[in-house]
Amino acid sequence: MKIALTSLIVALISVISLTDKHAPVLQEPQDEYQVEKGRENNIFAEDNENCLVCHGEEYYQLSDTAQDKSERRIMPSNYYVDRDEYYQSNHWSFGCLDCHPYDFEKFPHPTSARLEEPFHCNDCHGFDEQYAHYHFDEITEEYNESVHDDIEGFSCWKCHDPHSYEITIRTSENLEETILYDNNICLECHANYDKFQLLSSRDEIRIVSSHDWLPNQAAHFKSVRCIECHTEISDSLLVAHKLRPADKAVKRCTECHTSNSRLLATLYKFQSKKIRNDAGFVNGVILNQSYVIGANRNPAINMLSFIIFGGVVLVIIFHIFMRLIKK
C-alpha cells in the first residue's frame, strides 16, 4: 500500500520535471509590438462606410437617381464583409481602397476593376525587415510547390481571407480555438462544394469518408490541424505551407503517437519553444493542453517502473534460488 502510494506520488511529481531532447529549434520570435486595433483607431473608417453601407449589410439599396427609383436587394453572402472581423484582422488599419481600385466607387462596379489582379502579399511584405520573422519568401516558395498552386485562380488570399485573416497560432493562448480556426480555413472549401466548384470541376471530396480510416475522427480533428498531416515539415517556418498530394499525406499513427512526435515540429512548435524559454522545460504544451497516446512519455516514470520491475524480478529469482538449495 505504502509502496503503491509512494510510487504514485513520485510519478505525479516527475510529471512536472520533464525533459525531452527532441524539441525543435525555431528562431527567436520578435517582440510583437502591440497595436490597439479596432474601428475607432482606423483613420479610414468613415470612408470605408461608403463601401460598407452595402457590403457590411445583409441588404443594400439598389437605386437609380435618374428615375428616382430604389429597391432593396440581398447582398450575396460571398460579398459580405463583417465590420467587427475586419477591424480586428491583421489588415484592420486599411481603407478598402488601399487594396481595391478606385473604380469600385462607381456602382455597378466596372468589369475592368472587378477583373484587376489583386496585390500579392509580397508586394507589401517582401523584403520588409519588420516582417522578416514571418519568412514570406520561403512561404511563397513552399506555396509554389503545393497542390493548390496548380489550380487556376488560387492564391494566398483563398486561405488568408483579406477581410478577416488574423494571426492565430503565433499568439495562441488556446490551442483548441487555434486548431478550429486553422481547420475552418480548409473546410471553407473542402466542406463547401459550392465554393470548391469555383475552382475545380472535380467530384465532391467528402472529408469525413476520405478520413474514415482515422479512428476517433472527431477527437482528432479537434486536436490536430489538417496541415499536420498534409504538409511537409519545415525547419524554419512556424506554419509549413507545402501541401502535398493526398497520397503523400501522413497515415501512419506513430508519426504522432510516439515520443518524438511530428506534432512537436508542427502544431506544438511555437509553444514548446516558448515554454522552454520561459520555464526551462519542454513538452509543456503537450502536457498541459493536450494528451497524445504514446507521445506523453515521461522518462522519469519509465525509469521508475523499470527499476521497480527489475527489483521484483530479482527478489523472485533469489526466492527460487533459496527454494532450490533449501529443498
Binding site: 510510487s7 502536457l287 493536450s290 494528451y291 497516446i293 517502473s305 527454494r323
Partner: protein
Amino acid sequence: MSNRIYLYPVWIRIWHIINAILFLVLIFTGIALRFAGQENAVSLIRFDQAVAWHNVAAIILTASYVIFVIGNAISRNGRYYRIKKENFWTELIAQFKFYAFGMFRKEKHPFPVNEERKFNPLQKISYVLAMYAGMPVLIITGFGLLFPEILIQQFFGISGLLITDVLHFSIGFILSVFLIVHVYTCTLGQKPGTLFKSMMNGYHEEHD
C-alpha cells in the same frame, strides 16, 4: 491421507481465466501503445490494431469485473475477502516471515487453508487491494481516456487528461507487478503446481 475442500466455485474459475487472458492482452497492447514507434522498442503489433484490441479487451474486462464484484457480494465467496482489523499487521508480518525465512526452515504454514480461510493474510490484502482499489481506478481512468470529453479539463494547471493518463499507466503497471508476484506466490503451495490445479478443478488439496 488427503484432504479435499471445494473452495473455488465454477463461476470464480471461469471469471478468473477470462480475467487472466484479458489482462495479458491489455498489458501487451498497453505496452505497445505507450512505447509506440520507438526505434528501440519491439513493435509486434500495429498501433491502430493495438488501440482496437486494448479497447475491446478493456470493455470485456469491465463487464467481467462487474460480475466479480456482484458475485462476491451475493455468494459465500465474498467472505474470504473481508479483512479484520485485530491482529492485521501481526498476521501479515507472520505470513511475510514465513515466505522470507520460515518456509526454508521447514516451519509449518502459519495460516493453513480451511473452509473459513481460503487466503493467507498476504494473499488476502493483495487481492483486496488489486480488486477493490486498483481495478476500479484502472477502469475509471481507462474510460476517461476513451471518452475524454467527460474529464475535468484542467486541474491546478495540469491537463486532466494527463493526470488520468499517469494514473492509468501507474495503476496498470502496479497491477502488472501484482500479476507477476501473484503468479509466483501461487507456486508456493504444497507443490509448485498445487494451486494451479485447484484453480482448474476447484478443490484445495492437502496431503499429509
